[in-house]
Amino acid sequence: MPILHISQVSKTFNTHGSITQALTSTDLTVEENDFITILGPSGCGKSTLLRMVAGLDSPSSGDIQLDGVRVTGPGADRGMVFQSYTLFPWLNILENICFGLREKGLPLAEQHEIAHKFLKQVGLQEFAKHFPKQLSGGMQQRTALARALANDPRILLMDEPFGALDHQTRELMQELLQDIWQSERKTVLFVTHDIDEAIFMGNRVMVMSARPGRIKCDLPIELPYPRHYSVKTTPAFSELKAKLTEEIRIEVRRASGLPD
């Protein structure tokens, strides 16, 4: 059942009189429980697309609907994990996870019950009373994930959430997110420029073209679940990777102004 409809959405930015087209009319339909990874070169408008779904930016034309209701601004039904570390530094880990729950007006005991469940899921029970700055980058992003999940959003939006992490931590995070996605049955839109990540995480990969961005290919990933990290060395994975590398390479060359 489709839950998110993006239809004919485009975005132009007007900065100091010069107009940049970030996204040409884009269509995308997201089914319930989809894990869609959006892959593209930097500056292709993939983050812009995600921010418009979040309601942090508004489309220049077109329409985004979640469960048939038009998106006009940010809301708790669309949780977001950013690439930058966005935990509130003045709140401890537990209070950070409770932020949205408190905003909903839940009683404190219930906030804590929910928060502890997700703390456990991301393996940070021991760190409930720590401040964000006392945690490593990977732990901070795990908290940010728990904070977004605690709100029980309809769709989880992730904007290169592991982009600032080192390679090993990133792989751990990918597996963790896979597990959570399978157990919570969430719908996820995940932006990345890492091809391996896009294949490993997604059940569908959307490749975006260089600016002005549009979705140029929609590739279903039929690798079996649960996915173990060793899937990255299978021939099926390599084949997908080769295909996507080629698609992306053309776009990166185009974005850099090099001939095709």
């Binding site: 809301g75 950013f82 509130f88 003045w90 932020f99 905003e103 700055k133 904070r147």
Partner: protein
Amino acid sequence: MRPLQPVSPSAKVALGISFFVLFFAVWAFATLGGFVSKTFLADPITMVRSGFDLLMNQGFGFDIGMTVWRVLGGFFIAAILAIPIGVLMGAYKPVEAFLEPFVSFARYLPASAFIPLLILWAGIGESQKLAVIFIGSFFQLILMIAVSVGNTRRDLVEAAYTLGAKDGGVVKRVLLPSASPEIAETLRMVLGWAWTYVIVAELIGASNGIGHMITDSQALMATDQIIFGIIVIGLIGLITDIAFKTFNRWLFPWARLS
């Protein structure tokens, strides 16, 4: 010594104290050695003696109390009004566009130049002293608080919105806590400036206070008392500054972590 290399805590204290020692040594050498006339500059020993006399026999303690009361009173009124205005200005751009040009102009109006006018309006009583300090600190506070609030990280604000916060919640639960350590730091700095305004206000038209004692001493050519008065101001400044810093650190433990 290498650029930006930190110094150990004990060496830091020792170095800080040794400059005070050096300062007093040079002063004692210049005065007690007879290089400077006693009429123009009293020596440290005379200064300490007359300071003791001021405190014990001339009721200087009361003057100190009055001055402290004026600074804190005027500053308190300024802060109570400036904090909400500054926060509103930092949070809401139309409010900023409305007030910022005037406040920027007003903060360059020298508080001391208002003294004759304030004497005319409010006499030489306490309200005039409070008004000088108020004018001197109010506009500075507003601007600096507005900047702190306006500098809140945009991604934190966006994160709050995606967690379901509304505009009021963003102001209360993101902008305010994010800016509070800087607001506290601003209060500490501007309180320091308030000390200079109170002395100026007391130099002109006051019947008590540290500034008043200093003008009285000038008529008597008592440089020892003047210097003692100045040093007392410096010491109170130093103590309030340390107290404020310690309090801020205790209040915002998260801001120290890095």
